[in-house]
Every structure is written in structure tokens, then in C-alpha cells.
Amino acid sequence: MNITNLFTNYEEAVAMILFGIGFSNLLLQKNLIKKIIGLNIMDTAMYLFLALKGYVAGRKAPIVTNGIQDVEAYINPIPSGLVLTGIVVSVSVTALMLSLTIRLYRRYHSLDLDEISTRLKKEGL
């Protein structure tokens, strides 16, 4: 346990802080749009973390053009693939959340989830 590790791996620390910011926004914000922004920050933090894990200074993507076959010259491409998959997933859930928000706003003219809940209870539907 050494605090200096935190500074040598500051990129990962940043990713985790961003994850925390996004997570707490998604959980605690009342405004639906701010919640969605939180969701995107959370997902992006994850991609930052994965991209960092896939990056090795001085190496290239494993596309052999100049005849160099040495393993040491290339990075592992899987984390980048995971980032792409993750982006697709987060785009679709963001779209779904936004469409739900539009539906709710058209019905109740509010973006505050708690206010919508109280009005639903009053309607007694």
C-alpha cells in the first residue's frame, strides 16, 4: 500500500473518479437529463479505463504492413474491441432512456422523476 502508486497510475485514478461522479449523478440527480448525462460519464470513464489498459507506450495496433512480426511491437487489440462494443451498448441504452424521458415529459411536462411519481400517486391510476 503506497500512496505514490496513485500518482504513477494517475490515469486509472482519474477514470475511477469519473466513474464515481457518473454513478452518483445517475443515482442521486432528480432531473432525468442530468441522470442520462451521469450515465454517459460513467460509461465513458469505463472506456477510458479499458483504453488505458490496452495502451502500451511506443507500440502500434497489430496490423502487419512493414513485415515486423515481433510480438513486442504491437499492442493487444482486445481492449479496443471491448470499448467499441461498450460504446454500442451505451448508445442504445442512452437512446432508450432519452425516448422514455420524452414520453414522460409529453405526459407530465416535468423532468423531475420524484414530482412525476407524486403526481401519479395523486392521480391514483
Partner: protein, 502 residues
């Protein structure tokens, strides 16, 4: 390689492609495609189950024939095949039971979209059951969430949209944590295939390095999946989502969707991390505490509820608590009890939802508790089915709920520290279950005055009036009795399946 070994892959692909196909055909055709697909997949799973029982071992199916550390894999043993079979049976019965509600409650132009969601849901459940790759599991967890959200909100009113939004928010928090856990694990081990991660974890453990990151990753994955499957403090979205969506959605969501996540968690415990490591890490104790709390609090909320659908939904919270308590016991017997309870709860809860809709049909579509007086006489089959479901939930012998309670109690005996709390929680929870379920059953069989019946214009439904719902109810009752009366072979299959798991 025998032909039958292709069936798990084929069933995933079949349900995946039937989704888009349903979107371009009409509602009636989509319904037929959906029923056919579920039946075919059920038959294929039965064939796979027979094959795995005969061969006595699990097998690995490499996708695209790339060898182990690079390619994607499906791994099939007795447990996976049996789960797929049971999920298919229950989904088929849920779809049959909710035919009338779907025709009545969904817009004409959206009928076929419902089947798109159901097919995709089945696909993602099968993939969660069969896959041997953690990241594939994550992607299908998200597909599962999205299609479940569609199932909730397809019946358009304020309540369902709000419930779907809350469901999405909780689910996204859960899948965020799950993804972070998977990323940590990938970072530590360098693999995504479950069996390869297991080897690396064993090496790391033997070397005594990276203990804390492994622990954090395990904790993140457990909490993420616990949030997604509505373990007690994270259940706020559940009563609305189950209480106001259309009948098949509520039945499928409560009996299958949350169970898929729990099955994935069992897989992570046994195949990815290794149960000895999970046991040492004390994560199970946290699950145990929340499971016990859920058992009590879910039932307390159910007692205070006057809406029958929401009452059944709160009872789900309690039952999910049982399942996590079984994991929390930290013994193989506890896990087998949990997995048996997954099946028993799936069979009972969908029965209760379908029966409750039969009851509200004869009570002027009111879900209020007092309008149900004497409904057991107005719709005899639904009344009988609700009684069976209630007795099973309370844990009467002969029904499936009794066997799972017995298994939990037996498993608790093996663990010295957790024996007393488990037994006390089981006893309290049984009493609480009895209070609200028996209260409803008694209300169902209390005769209502003729004058009131005439004034409120309640009608009577005969068994033949809604044949598909009657068939579904009868099948559910038979399934429940089968699980309750001849539980031994099922438990033996689970036991050997769990042996093949790791």
C-alpha cells in the same frame, strides 16, 4: 461432435433471428412464430439435456472454431440445459396465459413489437445461461435489460413509463458496476473466457498477490447483479413494474428476467472466481444479511399492500431474498437450495400472476383486495390455482415451495454460525407469507352477498371461456405439483450439474 451439440448455439440464433422477423409480420403471425420458437427451443434444450445426462460431462462448443484463449465459447452441462428447458416451459405458459390481456391492452399496431421483445429476451436469457465468456455475458445482460424495459412500457400509461424509467435507472447502475468488475478482472487476469480466468485467479491466489483488486472486482460484480435482480434495498422499481405492466410481462419479468442475472452470478461464483475464494472473501456474508433482510421486509411490505398484483410483486422481493440467503450460506447445499428455489419460485410466481388476472377479470378489473370477495366461486379455476400458488409460497408439503424451504433449512444445518439466523428468518418469513397469502385465499372463498354482486355487475367466468389461460393455469398447477412431489430427480440433476459447473 454430434449434431445435438449444436443445439444450444442454434437455439440462441433462432430466438435472435425470430426477433427481427416478428417486426415485419403482423401481430397474429408474430404470435405464432413466437410460440413455435419457444416450443422448438424447449424441445432442443430437452435433447441437449438428454445428451449431457448420457455423456455425464459438460462440453465446450467453440464459436467459429478459434481455440480457447482467443475464441468465444459456449459451455453446456446438465445445469445449463435443464435451466434452458425450464425457462422455455415457463415462458411458453406465461405467453399462453396472457393472450387475452395482450389483445385487450396493447394497441393493434404494436402487437408484433411485443413478440420482438419476448424473442430477444429469450435469446438473451439463453445466452446468459450458456455463454462461457464474461464480456458476452455483459452484452446479453444489457440486451436483457432493454427488452425487459420494452415489455414493461409497451402498455402505455403514466405508471408503466415511470416504472420503466425507474427500472432502467436501477439496471444501468447495476450493469455499470458489473462492467467495472469485469474490466478489473480482465485487467488482472488478461482473459475473458471464464475457465481461463479461473486458472489465472488460482495462480494469483497461490502467489498471494492482487488480493484486494480481486476482492473489489468480485464485490462489484456481486453488487451489480444483486441490484439488477432486485435484492432488498434496490427493489423500489419492482412493485410498479410488475403491478401495472401487461400480464405476460409481469409473469415473465418476475419469474425469468431476475433469475437470469442470479444464474449468471452463480456462474461467476463457481466458474470464474471459484467458490473457495468467494467463501474466503466474506462477500457471501453481505449477500446473506441483505437476503435475510429482504425476506422479512418484502413480506412486511406485501402485508400492507391492498392491490393484489403489487402484493405478489412484493412477495417476489422476499423470494429473491431467499435465493441470496442460500448463496450466503456459502455451502454447496445452500447453492443447490437457491437454484431449486429459482425454479420453484419461477413456476409459482408466474402461476400466481396468471391466477390473479383470472381473479381480477371476475372482479370488474379491480385489483383492490375487497372487490375480490368470493371471486374463487366466480372463477373456479383461477381461485384453485391461486390457492395452489399461495400454499406453495407458504411452504405446504406437496408443493414446490415446501421442498425449497426444506432444502434451505437442511443447508443451514451445515453452517455453524448462520444456522440460527437462517432458521429464525425462515420461520418468521413463513408466518408473514401465510398472513398475506392466506388472507387473500380466505377472502377469495368468502361468499359475497347477491345484492353486492348485482350492484357491482361482477361476472362469472367458466373454465372453457378462455381456453389458453385455463390450459396455462392447469399446466402451472401440474408443474408445481411435479416439482413438489418428485423433487428428488430434479435435485439430483442440479447436484450433478453443479459438479460440472466449475
Amino acid at each position: 461432435m454430434q449434431f445435438v451439440q449444436n443445439f444450444p448455439f442454434m437455439s440462441i440464433i433462432l430466438s435472435l433471428f425470430s426477433g427481427p422477423l416478428s417486426s415485419i409480420v403482423g401481430g397474429k403471425a408474430a404470435k405464432r412464430i413466437n410460440l413455435a420458437v419457444i416450443s422448438i427451443i424447449g424441445l432442443m434444450s430437452a435433447a441437449v439435456l438428454a445428451f449431457t445426462i448420457r455423456s455425464g460431462d459438460s462440453y465446450v462448443y467453440t464459436m467459429g472454431h478459434f481455440p480457447a484463449p482467443w475464441g468465444n465459447e459456449i459451455r453446456v452441462g446438465i445445469m445449463e440445459a435443464l435451466m434452458a428447458l425450464i425457462f422455455c416451459i415457463i415462458m411458453l405458459l406465461c405467453m399462453l396465459g396472457g393472450v387475452y390481456e395482450r389483445e385487450r391492452e396493447l394497441e393493434e399496431s404494436k402487437q408484433n413489437l411485443y413478440y420482438v421483445m419476448v424473442n430477444l429476451l429469450l435469446c438473451s436469457l439463453l445466452a446468459l445461461i450458456y455463454t462461457n465468456d464474461l464480456f458476452t455475458a455483459y452484452v446479453f445482460v444489457e440486451i436483457n435489460t432493454i427488452s425487459a424495459c420494452g415489455l414493461i412500457m409497451i402498455k402505455q400509461n403514466g405508471r408503466t413509463i415511470e416504472a420503466a424509467t425507474r427500472y432502467m435507472i436501477m439496471s444501468l447502475l447495476g450493469s455499470g458496476l458489473l462492467l467495472l468488475g469485469i474490466c478489473f478482472l480482465y485487467d488482472l487476469t488478461g482473459h475473458l473466457l471464464m475457465s481461463n480466468i479461473r486458472e489465472q485467479v488460482r495462480i494469483l491466489r497461490a502467489a498471494g498477490t492482487y488480493h484486494i483488486p480481486l476482492l473489489i472486482s468480485l464485490g462489484l460484480m456481486s453488487v451489480g447483479l444483486a441490484i439488477k435482480s432486485a435484492l432488498f434495498p434496490f427493489h423500489s422499481w419492482l412493485p410498479d413494474a410488475y403491478g401495472y405492466s401487461t400480464l405476460s410481462s409481469a409473469a415473465i419479468l418476475s419469474s425469468l428476467v431476475s433469475k437470469g442475472y442470479i444464474f449468471l452470478l452463480a456462474k461467476i461464483f463457481f466458474r470464474v472466481i471459484g467458490f473457495d475464494m468467494v467463501w474466503d472473501s466474506k462477500v457471501v456474508n453481505v449477500l446473506f444479511v441483505f437476503g435475510v433482510a429482504g425476506m422479512i421486509m418484502g413480506s412486511v411490505s406485501a402485508i400492507r399492500e391492498n392491490n393484489i398484483r403489487r402484493m405478489i410483486a412484493y412477495s417476489s422481493v422476499a423470494q429473491i431474498g431467499y435465493i441470496y440467503m442460500g448463496f450466503g450460506l456459502g455451502t454447496t447445499a445452500g447453492v443447490i437450495a437457491s437454484i431449486y428455489h429459482i425454479v420453484s419460485h419461477a413456476a409459482t410466481k408466474s402461476l400466481l400472476f396468471v391466477a390473479a388476472s383470472g381473479i381480477t377479470d371476475v372482479s370488474g378489473d379491480s385489483t383492490d383486495f375487497f372487490d375480490m370477495t368470493g371471486a374463487g366461486y366466480r372463477n373456479k379455476l383461477a381461485g384453485a390455482a391461486f390457492t395452489v400458488g399461495s400454499l406453495s409460497m407458504v411452504g405446504m408439503p406437496m408443493f414446490s415451495g415446501f421442498i425449497s424451504k426444506l432444502l434451505f433449512a437442511q443447508a443451514a444445518m451445515e453452517s455453524t454460525h448462520k444456522m440460527l439466523p437462517t432458521l429464525i428468518a425462515l420461520a418468521i418469513s413463513t408466518i408473514l407469507n401465510a398472513i398475506y397469502f392466506m388472507k387473500t385465499v380466505i377472502r377469495l372463498y368468502t361468499p359475497e352477498k347477491r345484492v353486492v354482486l348485482k350492484k357491482k355487475n361482477f361476472r362469472t367466468i367458466a373454465m372453457t371461456e378462455q381456453p389458453s389461460k385455463s390450459i396455462a393455469l392447469v399446466c402451472f398447477i401440474i408443474l408445481n405439483l411435479l416439482l413438489g412431489l418428485s423433487s428428488e430427480p430434479v435435485i439430483a440433476l442440479f447436484r450433478s450439474g453443479l459438479g460440472m459447473f466449475s
